[in-house]
């Protein structure tokens, strides 16, 4: 399926709480352009908000990239949250429900994983973290 022309890839630099809002609004718009239901567009926006906040909290700055993708018969949206912060020492621990090194949030990555269809995290100590998630249109 060819992607709608208005659904363009977007990259949002993240370094403050206003960037979190910009990123999730851009993501909602893109999801809507791809024909996602309003419920799924809200899920996409919520996941982006969590991922972008992780960047601000733990790495200070980074980027959220929003990439529309197509399969043979469907559209999807890939969200890539990248930072060059300290990285996550124990990714397995970070993926456990209720775990948060900031002591503040506690839903974090496992919550985002539940919201999305696909989830991948790569983190290297001292080099940063990249979380890549995908949501398909239903």
């Amino acid at each position: 399926m060819r992607l709608p022309p208005e659904a363009e890839e977007a990259r949002v630099p993240i370094q403050s709480d206003t960037d979190i809002v910009t990123a999730r609004q851009r993501g909602r718009m893109l999801a809507t352009q791809l024909g996602f239901t309003s419920g799924d567009a809200t899920i996409v926006a919520t996941a982006i908000s969590e991922l972008a906040r992780n960047i601000v909290l733990y790495a200070k700055k980074g980027e959220v990239a929003l990439t529309p993708v197509e399969s043979q018969d469907n559209y999807g949206l890939i969200i890539t949250a990248r930072d060059e912060g300290e990285g996550i020492a124990d990714v397995r621990q970070a993926m456990q429900d209720g775990y948060s090194t900031s002591g503040r949030l506690g839903v974090g990555l496992p919550g985002v994983k539940r919201l999305m269809d696909e989830f991948e995290i790569v983190s290297e100590a001292g080099k940063g973290t990249t979380v890549t998630v995908k949501k398909w249109k239903r």
Partner: protein
């Protein structure tokens, strides 16, 4: 963007009108906690109908608001959580445990009035 807070008799009504940044949410919390004392309000309604996303930070701040208002001697009701927002919150594992919620502003006022009557008895 600042959230307007309306004084309506013994209640304060804060109506969120757009997406809020973390700083906006904290500002709302501080304003409500301060104004509840200044106006000697008995109840606070936060209308979140227009809120685009209720993520972990927003949920936590709403819970904080309700608890702080309680400590100041008043009640808080959160009204107007959008169905899509409710679904995303549940999937994310968020809740507003211990915080009163109603469908809309009208129901929120009914609840506060009932509670005010119950306290008088």
């Amino acid at each position: 963007m600042e959230v307007p807070i309306l004084k309506q008799g013994p209640y304060l009504i804060a109506t969120i009108q757009s997406a809020l940044t973390d700083a906006d949410l904290l500002q709302l919390r501080d304003s409500l906690v301060e104004q509840v004392g200044r106006y000697r309000s008995r109840g606070v309604i936060v209308d979140v109908t227009a809120l685009d996303v209720m993520d972990s930070f927003a949920s936590r701040t709403i819970r904080d608001i309700a608890q702080m208002i309680k400590l100041r001697g008043a009640e808080t009701v959160i009204v107007g959580i959008d169905p899509d927002v409710a679904f995303a919150m549940v999937r994310l594992g968020l809740n507003l445990e211990g915080v009163a919620t109603t469908l809309d502003l009208e129901e929120g006022l009914v609840l506060l009035n009932e509670r005010a009557r119950a306290t008088k008895r």
